[in-house]
């Protein structure tokens, strides 16, 4: 090869006006990738802990799914595999970004995946322990412009037993019924079919629960589904859409 290779390259650079990418553009690109990586980490952490909670049937109210649109609620409540697929999707994007942006390629892939799983798990447990989603949901409407606030339903009436939702604290539990004191202080007798209700969903005394079903007669409620309720201390559950 001729020794004038570098000169020909220089001529090409000058003739075609090729310039290095500005450092600011490179920095912006790096920041954008890191932001995307952190978002993916947050999403995978959140979804990961949901998968864990769903697997162990612990506190599905963590997501406050009943405050979301009916379609999304249906998806998240009845099709848990969606959570798993979304978790895997975000995890894969995160893995690609970590390998691209950092020197993680120096380590075996199994180590990288293990560390990321641990990070997602601890991040998700942190969200759960700090009630972060509920805090965001309760403070968000206050920061929104007035014309957008109704979209977050802050002024919707609270669900009533007549709407098919009963929530409160369990008082006593029998074989196929339990007594529940609701927010206004009324005592309800909640009846359920033990064949239809999963034994893991059965409440215990002093537990806050949310019951879906219908009123059979005065102060008697027939339950179709029973879920733990983990709302704000002293606060009502989110309104149904």
């Amino acid at each position: 090869m001729n020794d004038d290779f570098s000169q020909r390259l220089l001529d090409k650079i000058e003739h075609e006006q090729i310039h290095p990418i500005p450092r600011s553009a490179i920095l912006f690109r790096k920041i954008a990738i890191w932001v995307l990586l952190l978002l993916c980490l947050g999403c995978s952490a959140f979804l990961g802990v949901l998968v864990v909670l769903a697997f162990f049937h612990i506190d599905l109210e963590f997501l406050r799914v009943s405050s979301l649109g009916p379609m999304l609620r249906l998806l998240l409540a009845y099709i848990p595999v969606v959570w798993l697929v979304l978790f895997l999707l975000f995890f894969c994007i995160e893995l690609l970004l970590v390998r691209r942006q950092t020197h993680a390629y120096r380590y075996p892939t199994s180590v990288i995946i293990g560390m990321m799983m641990l990070g997602a798990l601890f991040g998700g447990l942190g969200f759960y322990a700090t009630h972060l989603p509920e805090r965001i949901e309760s403070s968000l409407p206050g920061h929104l412009p007035p014309h957008i606030r109704p979209w977050f339903q802050p002024d919707r009436p609270l669900p009533r037993p007549e709407d098919g939702v009963l929530f409160g604290k369990v008082q006593t539990v029998q074989t196929e019924s339990f007594s529940l004191r609701d927010e206004p202080g009324h005592l309800w007798q909640v009846q359920f079919d033990s064949k239809k209700i999963d034994v893991r969903q059965l409440p215990h005394p002093d537990q806050d629960v949310i019951v879906e079903g219908h009123i059979e007669q005065r102060e008697v409620f027939r339950a179709d589904a029973i879920r733990p309720y983990r709302g704000q201390p002293g606060g009502p559950p989110p309104p149904r859409p």
């Binding site: 290779f5 570098s6 650079i13 290095p20 075996p108």
Partner: protein
């Protein structure tokens, strides 16, 4: 630093900083590394002169455009090898170019022969060695070439090939085993 004050004995890092402002400083960097990268491409991919020149030009233009992204946690040489290797692989994929047979000089093949004998602790003929090296799959030929012919350390190879050290060590060992299997005692 004005271009006239940039001297060939300046470090790569200072030349990179100056090259962002002036392409003439970049020319010094190119002069420093193009022969090394040319030999690397020739030994590893057995490409013809024109293809190597195209790949080298594309690599250096990519390096020039991304000078601001140079990560000085590893050397400029490693970074240049990284980019050149990626450009070569892209070029091979796009053009579906198959490696040509024997486009190296006798001196280069002698070098390869010595390296192969050193790696396998045996003695072979030049002809047998050339066939064996060319028959090696690329994923083994790359680390073998970088280690024995380019004299790169494992740490440098980690950054060039973007694989963990353990994986590279396994690939190099596997390359040696495959070479021994290819090179029968009858070729002595």
């Amino acid at each position: 630093m004005p271009v006239s004050a940039v001297l060939p004995e300046h470090s790569d890092r200072s030349l990179v900083d100056e090259a962002i402002r002036s392409p003439h400083a970049f020319k010094l960097l190119v002069d420093r590394y193009w022969r090394q990268l040319y030999a690397f491409l020739k030994r590893l991919y057995f490409l013809e002169h024109e293809e190597i020149e195209d790949i080298l030009q594309e690599s250096f233009l990519k390096i020039y455009r991304n000078l601001g992204a140079f990560d000085d946690t590893f050397s400029f040489s490693t970074w240049a090898y990284q980019i050149t290797r990626n450009c070569a692989i892209d070029s091979l994929r796009k053009k579906r170019v198959r490696p040509q047979t024997v486009s190296l000089s006798e001196e280069e093949w002698e070098h390869i022969l010595v390296a192969t004998m050193a790696s396998t602790d045996r003695t072979f003929t030049l002809e047998a060695t050339t066939k064996a090296i060319q028959a090696l799959p690329l994923k083994y030929r790359e680390p073998f070439t970088l280690f024995y012919l380019e004299q790169k350390t494992y740490e440098e190879m980690v950054d060039i090939l973007k694989k963990p050290k353990g994986t590279i060590a396994s690939l190099v060992n596997r390359a040696k085993v495959l070479l021994r299997e290819q090179l029968h005692p009858s070729t002595l």
